[in-house]
């Protein structure tokens, strides 16, 4: 009961802070709030039994991605924006309503039973011994064992994707400079 109440408090705080984040005027303020949101989500991961994911969330998201965001915001030296909200069009409204309906269906007992039946029908899941999150002390071992056996090809593809992203980021950010040198 105590863990559920603290999980509830963390979740409500996360949603509230993310609402604060999308209504801020300065980008740096929004980034700082987003770092707090990611730390809270990492806490929720830890309470759900995914300790490795919690640590990776803090290191990768709050440590690396948000630092790059803040660095770029400070590099651009942006003026504060006056808040100009857009209008929501009819199509977007239809998407929102459909998404709410699907989410409400998946939130009911029928929808959850449907999801679990889909998950359990996969022979991949059934061929493996079940993992019980209550036995906490082997989380990293289990994750890495699964990642380097069943998901080995996905892991290799992800590493290749990161290589492509590095080269692409350098090429894209460099191109404007080359054009400037040519035009001047």
């Amino acid at each position: 009961m105590m863990t559920q109440i603290s999980f509830l408090i963390m979740g409500i705080l996360t949603v509230f802070l993310s609402i604060m984040m999308i209504t801020r005027k300065w980008p740096v303020t929004a980034s700082m709030i987003l770092i707090i949101v990611m730390m809270l989500i990492a806490g929720m991961f830890g309470m759900l039994g995914a300790h490795f994911s919690a640590v990776a969330q803090i290191i990768v998201y709050a440590g690396a991605i948000m630092v790059v965001f803040v660095f770029v915001i400070m590099l651009l030296n942006l003026p504060p924006e006056e808040l100009r909200y857009g209008r929501i069009t009819m199509f977007e409204l239809i998407y929102i309503v459909l998404g709410f309906l699907i989410a409400l269906f998946l939130g009911t007992k029928v929808g959850q039973g449907y999801l679990l039946s889909v998950l359990n029908s996969q022979t991949l899941m059934n061929s493996r011994p079940p993992y019980y999150p209550d036995s906490m002390n082997e989380n990293v071992k289990n994750v890495s064992a699964l990642m380097f056996t069943d998901y080995l090809w996905a892991f290799e593809l992800i590493s290749f994707l990161i290589l492509v992203a590095i080269v692409g980021a350098i090429v894209i950010a460099k191109k404007a400079k080359v054009n400037d040198a040519k035009s001047s």
């Binding site: 979740g11 929004a30 949101v37 990768v60 770029v72 989380n139 699964l146 191109k175």
Partner: protein
């Protein structure tokens, strides 16, 4: 009182909605990318909750992959933003409509 993974699914839904409204309502590219990060975090939370709900660990591995893809997306997107700001010196998407004809 619902169990912890169910609460996680509900909060993932709420976070995803907040991120979606951020992408649709804000007109600044930086804020739109920050909202995309919130949406990716909501997807990660849903993966972890499902992993905890089904007593499997696949969701945690997939969450790691989603995180790597998010890092790539942030890197390339921020490079695009820097290049675009050098070119046009604005980040309002209403002023950057050259792809819309």
């Amino acid at each position: 009182m619902p169990s912890l993974p169910e609460l996680g699914i509900y909060f993932a839904l709420l976070l995803f909605i907040v991120g979606m409204f951020g992408v649709m309502l804000r007109k600044n590219i930086i804020f739109m990318m920050l909202s995309v990060e919130v949406m990716l975090n909501a997807a990660n939370l849903a993966f972890i909750s499902a992993s905890s709900m089904t007593n499997t660990i696949d969701g945690q591995v997939i969450m790691f992959f989603v995180m790597a893809v998010a890092a790539c997306e942030a890197g390339v997107g921020l490079a695009l933003i820097v290049s675009l700001y050098r070119e046009k010196s604005t980040l309002e998407i209403d002023d950057l409509r050259m792809l819309r004809g």
